[in-house]
Symmetry: C2
């Protein structure tokens, strides 16, 4: 038998996801690993212990972490968890390291090789390992479902004998993976969908989903659109024109979904209190960036706020976790795909090669040190 892999039940009670699925346990067992899954680890994702056993795993308890060479997790290990790991263990998780220098230093001190899955490069080879994409996709879907559940009207146009119910106007701000899935889902439900993004090149993607891109389409925009990709920042004049257009547009929307994140920095404020106040009573805003400071003035993490003018601002935490039975399957697959690249199939062991491009991008701590270039300060904090 090869090395031991441990999959804990997440200690955060609000985290329903799990870092392995019967499918990934089966593959890891097939590669010669001994996989121990903590009792009830899959309960929140609708995976019974029996399914892990049927896939070749065994059911254990949290202290079994101590014999594991590899730990697969959703969230960064807590201090208590770190104490239970053996030095040299490889730990894969969404490490959320920015602004958490002390926690990063603690992982170094514990001697683990901690991989931050969210740093996976967005290159073709690593697509199947991209936890940000897999989870953002489901968050974008769920944002529309959450909005529809709070909204006091139907989303699709309905032509009935007693008159026509108009389609809801839905505006998606930020057209990354989450934004694109939100657009697609809102379109499925019959909404009239518009979207915007700082990248003029996003216009084509938005149009391909049947939605309309909101932008001041002057010469500057057209030049930037053709340049494609991450174009240079637009002029101050353009930004002012675009802001005025957006503010005017928001006042007419029924549902607005914001998805703008900047890695390592607070989320940009896209919607001011004045814009919220301009909306009709009964309108709904979903702030998918609420955990990072929020795109919307007045959004509160974990709450649905109703403003004085009757607008609901939804600030659910961990939105992918709201569809945990789907998100866990994809997350588990992401981790497996990456782990597989580090497996020495002869030795049935995980070998960390610091020169590998994916390892370089994601390895936070190794051999007792903080090794990721973005976290030199964390090393100092831990010293």
């Amino acid at each position: 038998m090869g090395q031991t892999i441990f999959v804990p039940k997440e200690v955060d009670a609000t985290e329903a996801r799990v870092a392995a699925s019967p499918d990934t346990v089966k593959r890891l067992s097939g590669l010669g690993f001994s996989v121990v899954v903590e009792k009830d680890a899959g309960a929140g994702s609708r995976i019974p212990d029996a399914d892990f056993v049927a896939a070749g795993g065994s059911i254990g308890k949290s202290s079994d972490a101590g014999k594991a060479d590899v730990v697969l997790k959703v969230r960064r290990p807590t201090e208590a968890e770190l104490k239970s790991y053996k030095s040299g263990a490889v730990v894969l998780a969404s490490m959320d390291p920015y602004g958490n220098d002390a926690a990063v230093a603690a992982m170094a001190k514990a001697g683990i090789s901690a991989f931050a899955m969210e740093f996976m490069p967005r290159i073709t080879r690593a697509q199947s390992m991209d936890v940000l994409s897999s989870q953002a996709n489901l968050a974008g879907y769920q944002a529309v479902i959450d909005a529809a559940a709070e909204y006091d009207r139907a989303l699709p146009m309905m032509m009935t004998a007693a008159g026509t119910v108009p389609a809801a106007k839905i505006f998606v701000m930020g057209v990354g993976v989450a934004g694109l899935q939100a657009i697609a889902t809102a379109r499925r439900l019959g909404g009239v969908v518009t979207a915007t993004d700082v990248r003029p090149a996003a216009k084509e993607q938005v149009a391909s989903l049947g939605a309309k891109f909101l932008a001041v389409e002057d010469d500057e925009f057209k030049a930037a659109e053709t340049a494609g990709g991450y174009a240079k920042e637009m002029s101050k004049e353009y930004q002012a024109k675009q802001a005025a257009l957006t503010a005017d547009h928001i006042a007419k929307q029924d549902i607005v979904i914001t998805t703008a994140l900047i890695p390592g920095r607070p989320a940009p404020k896209l919607i001011s209190a004045a814009m919220v106040a301009s909306m009709k009573p009964g309108s709904v805003i979903v702030d998918l960036a609420v955990e990072r400071g929020g795109n919307v003035e007045g959004s509160v993490p974990g709450k649905v706020v109703t403003t004085a003018n009757g607008v609901k601002i939804i600030g659910h935490l961990n939105v992918p976790g709201r569809v945990a039975a789907s998100s866990s399957l994809l997350y588990a697959k992401n981790l497996f795909a990456f782990l597989e690249t580090m497996i020495d199939k002869e030795k049935k062991a995980v070998v960390v090669n610091p020169d590998d491009e994916l390892v370089k991008a994601t390895l936070l701590t190794h051999g007792g040190k903080v090794v990721h270039s973005n976290f030199a300060k964390a090393e100092a904090a831990g010293a």
Copy 2:
């Protein structure tokens, strides 16, 4: 000025709907009526008082009911409301009279002409007055939204770099107005949808929405299907075969939505506790008949129940009221369309003609008596 029409704020705190809209107030004002809307009557449906005023109405208080010749309501008037009405007032509402003989007798005693909007005949002329259809349509939509919000997976199939999320399997039992809209909405969201109904003729409607009809398609079924409409009851043998097929099918579903109602009788039990127990953890059932006794064993009015095997049974009350801003507009239009047929445009007054086909079908009490043939016993109870 003609007669006075009063639109109260509903006294039931869980009722967000209102029986008039700015559109219907405008039309009634245009016909010469004085329309008084109680303060905040539209608040739950996102209609500010100012919108009623702009449409030609005025804002009043509950005691203004006393000067009204016509009262437009969502729910049957309470004892207290009846006391405030003048004798001879015409009252249009969803009267929910079955099993409520004492309440029907009280309306007779109060001397009002009480119309039960839910008794509107399902004929072409009265389609625009059909409150059951307009509200069931929205209930069918909302049932799918509520199911999706509780469900822990995404509904559509999603093909991602980390693998495929399978589409949810959704089964709709009862293919009336609510069932058809539930099918349409579940299809919009990408579900794999099946449906069943006691009427074999429903097969074609189900197919036209891109869903599959579940039935034992033997010779008896095929004969009944061709006969169309409300065919005669199927044989005991057929029913047994169909029940076995349905039970087997339910065990494999992710979401089941039940919509079966029988006018004036308790809802039929479609799903037994054993069938619920056969479903996978995380599955969701929506019982749209919960207010009438329920189609599902174990559903509880007003609650989301999680069973021992992890199935969620949703029993929300007043599902159309969950999308009140849409349902009120249609409900108001239904009432207006019926009221208009009783308006004498010269006198600017409502005149009840007991010989009119629509009046005959809907008039419960008139001239101090219970006049509807289905409620002779209610007359006795009130004597």
